[in-house]
Symmetry: C2
Subunit: 180 residues, 2 copies
């Protein structure tokens, strides 16, 4: 159910996703929602964001453990490319959706901030391991996350993969020159 919520947040955003949609999508029992989520939609949004953030963070960490940052970047963007194209550019990042959720879901926003911070730390660690000074690894990690997320937004807007491709090509060049 948390998983379903995260999936729907990708396409419709937090505000645009109704409780009934989540129930339908997850085929969960209708009557027990407020048993498991006494905090209502706020709580569901928060837990879904946290779950998605940690899942993606684990994926990032695993990739960076097995390969260098540049190879991981390619893999990661390949996944995004698949998500975008398979959804006809309707699906985006659930963490971005949560970050932009309004006052009605403050918990989701906080969970999004935590996810971004975790990703940044992981990526910065990998950059440092690859030889970058600590003071440079952090900001570079922020650039990577911001640019990729922004590239996904642009790709969704124009319903084409090119913006993300261009962003990643540029990031690759930046990382190469930074790590050189």
């Amino acid at each position: 159910m948390i998983q379903s919520a995260a999936t729907l947040f990708r396409e419709r955003g937090v505000e645009g996703t109704a409780f009934a949609d989540v129930l339908e999508h997850s085929a969960a029992p209708r009557g027990s929602v407020y048993h498991h989520f006494p905090g209502g939609k706020q709580q569901l949004a928060e837990e879904a964001t946290r779950w998605a953030g940690e899942a993606m963070g684990a994926g990032i960490a695993a990739a960076l453990r097995e390969e260098d940052p540049l190879a991981a970047l390619d893999d990661f963007v390949g996944l995004w490319r698949a998500v975008l194209e398979e959804s006809d550019f309707r699906a985006g990042c659930p963490i971005v959706a949560a970050a932009l959720a309004g006052e009605r879901s403050p918990g989701a926003r906080a969970a999004a901030a935590a996810a971004f911070a975790e990703w940044r730390a992981t990526l910065a660690g990998a950059f440092a391991e690859a030889g970058l000074a600590a003071a440079q690894a952090g900001p570079l990690a922020t650039l990577f996350i911001a640019a990729i997320e922004g590239g996904i937004v642009l790709a969704r807007a124009q319903r084409g993969i090119e913006p993300l491709t261009e962003v990643v090509d540029e990031l690759r060049a930046v990382a190469r020159s930074a790590l050189a």
Copy 2:
């Protein structure tokens, strides 16, 4: 009224903004809404997005006409910093909000794509004028837009300006080395 809609989209997104909110914010006459916007909320969202996109595009073009890309970047981000801090990090980019609007506002999404494309062309032109090869100016412009928009999302999530500052510092370095 279009202006009010764009303002509200910044904070609440397209789905999160109610018609009544726009009326209240703009102090516009209640009864004549469907006179001016027979297409309802879809039409309002589309026109507000187009208006905001053109206004921001004009600002970008004006800045790039008077100064070099690096100086314009600083000015532009200074404006964003003010918007973010004055709104306590609740306000973001209305074009991003429109890009993430669901199926219920396809016109807004299209207008967002047009805005991004226009900005990209303007910025790429400035990079070319500054001496960059045409084949490199376009992708670099995409990186700039994606990274800044992503930085704004990150800043809103963590309610702090640092992500945007870091992104811009990195972009400045990238542009310097590209234009060198």
